[in-house]
């Protein structure tokens, strides 16, 4: 394991200090907590937006704190959901009396910890709503689908909407709409190594790829021989398009998300093919995002997220 770190046990703490120091104009850290909040939180009159999860997915989620995005991000240990008391602190720090929407990725740990935090918040008289994002179509059963890169689209769209005055109920409904209108799927070429364990999360042969790997290296749908960028794009996008049930004339937003060590060059090569396929199917791309939004440390690979737009989503699309 070759990493620019000091002590595996301190990576999250030191990273949070680094983020807070570098972006002190936008962000502050709640002293003693693994929580970063928007400097001017709570924003009077606005529904608070909180997300979080295990660390190692940077820039998710702290990198999405700011205007038209999150009010707070809670960081767990690397790839480990944060505990409810951490989440509760975030909720308390951003609630201005208008309630707080929690954006949760569908992992057992995250769901349970956010549930407990919501119960604790209720006990303190703070209203919360939750949206559990399940965009990863690599998992067959819809209820078990993991939350992956599409989560960022929820941050951005709902973030814009609450800034424009949506109340908690409306924000939750919109979040469910975004979440229900998008599907994602990824491919991995190389694993990542969690600092505490020091060992790669999985192994792949030099000519192998894994389709549908989760953002912590959970197994995907299938291992097979590495193919060309175009062939992989076709395979992933076809699955995503079929699951999303897009059809001719639809408008979409596309997110090509790098998993950590895949050069932007490769992401753009894949995007190129994706737009070609969509155009062939008479599906238009209103917004393209290509880059690292939800990483898995230094995992190599990428994912596609397709969001089907309608007039409501278009209104708040950044």
């Amino acid at each position: 394991m070759k990493k620019l770190i000091n002590d595996p046990d301190h990576v999250v703490d030191e990273m949070l200090d680094g983020i807070a120091a570098a972006h002190a104009d936008v962000i502050r850290r709640l002293p003693g907590w693994n929580v970063l909040v928007r400097k001017d939180a709570p924003m009077i009159g606005k529904v608070g937006l909180v997300s979080g999860g295990g660390s190692g997915h940077e820039p998710a989620h702290a990198g999405f704190i700011g205007e038209n995005m999150l009010d707070a991000a809670v960081a767990g240990e690397v790839f480990t959901s944060p505990a409810p008391d951490q989440i509760l602190e975030a909720i308390k720090a951003v609630d201005s009396g208008n309630g707080v929407l929690l954006i949760v990725k569908n992992y057992s740990g995250d769901v349970m910890n956010f549930d407990m935090a919501a119960e604790m918040a209720a006990a303190e008289g703070i209203d919360t709503e939750q949206v559990v994002v399940k965009d990863d179509v690599a998992v067959e059963n819809e209820e078990d689908r993991r939350g992956v890169a599409g989560t960022i689209l929820v941050h951005k769209i709902v973030g814009t909407a609450v800034e424009e005055g949506l109340n908690l109920q409306e924000a939750a409904e919109l979040a469910h709409q975004v979440s229900g209108s998008m599907k994602s799927m990824g491919v991995s070429l190389q694993p990542s190594t969690v600092p505490a364990s020091g060992k790669p999360g999985f192994t792949l042969a030099e000519d192998e790829m894994e389709l549908g790997t989760g953002i912590h290296g959970e197994p995907g749908m299938e291992r097979k021989k590495l193919k060309s960028a175009d062939a992989i794009t076709e395979e992933l996008l076809e699955k995503v398009m079929a699951e999303l049930e897009v059809s001719s004339g639809d408008e979409t937003a596309v997110l090509v998300n790098g998993q950590g060590s895949t050069p932007l060059m490769e992401l753009y090569i894949m995007y190129r093919k994706a737009e070609e396929i969509l155009t062939e199917n008479n599906i238009s791309v209103k917004k393209a995002m290509v880059g690292e939004y939800m990483t898995s440390l230094e995992m190599a690979g990428c994912s596609f997220t397709l969001l089907k737009l309608d007039s409501t989503l278009n209104k708040y699309l950044p």
């Binding site: 767990g76 480990t80 944060p82 505990a83 409810p84 057992s108 407990m116 993991r146 912590h216 959970e218």
Partner: protein
């Protein structure tokens, strides 16, 4: 047979020792069908639990369990934090205000814990989780006098049984069929927990 708050405390201390000792092994089990952090999570949580109990003269079993629950909830994280935390919290409710509990009262605590885990994890028996150790242990303490060696045996066999199951909940569920033949890390840490309980009440008898 009765269980005292001193035994409960000893239980937690011995559980911590086992979590520390088996930290890498638990994480290895989790590496195979999860994300390799279960040992780290449990070791971190129990370490903190005993730290906060060390200089505490609390005699109320419920209060001891509640303090442990709160520490586990805030220090373990992941899936196991809320699950162990909720289990301990529910048990603490049953044992509130008591310095000693009867076998029946003890079983009631474990029953509440199991209910807590089920509700929190939306899980059932047979899903290859820590429940597959907790439920057999519950049935044992509900129906028999607590014989330490028997308790350990029950927990151990139940833990071993998870190797035959296919995971339905948590991270391991993504491994589908591939999870079969592996032990569930949460089941293993629960086996360690009940082994610690067995040893904690044995020591008492010897003492």
């Amino acid at each position: 047979m009765e269980i005292t708050s001193a035994e409960i405390k000893r239980w937690l201390f011995m559980a911590n020792e086992k979590m520390q000792y088996n930290k890498d092994y638990l994480s290895e089990l989790d590496q195979a069908i999860g994300d390799g952090d279960h040992g780290h999570n449990m070791a971190r949580g129990f370490q903190e639990t005993v730290e906060s109990l060390k200089d505490d003269n609390e005699e109320d079993m419920g209060a001891v369990m509640k303090s442990a629950a709160m520490t586990l909830i805030s220090k373990v994280g992941g899936a196991s934090g809320p699950l162990y935390g909720t289990a301990f919290l529910k048990a603490s409710d049953e044992w509130k205000g008591k310095q000693v509990v009867t076998a029946g009262e003890f079983a009631k605590g474990i029953e509440a814990a199991v209910e807590g885990i089920k509700t929190r994890g939306k899980a059932e028996r047979g899903g290859k989780t820590l429940l597959d150790v907790w439920i057999p242990v519950l049935e044992y303490v509900q129906n028999q006098e607590l014989v330490p060696t028997e308790l350990t045996k029950t927990a151990k066999e139940a833990m071993e049984g998870t190797a035959d199951m296919t995971a339905k909940k948590g991270r391991a569920s993504y491994y589908g069929e591939k999870s079969t033949s592996h032990l569930d890390p949460g089941a293993y840490s629960s086996y360690l927990l009940f082994e610690a309980l067995a040893e904690a009440v044995t020591k008492e008898e010897e003492g």
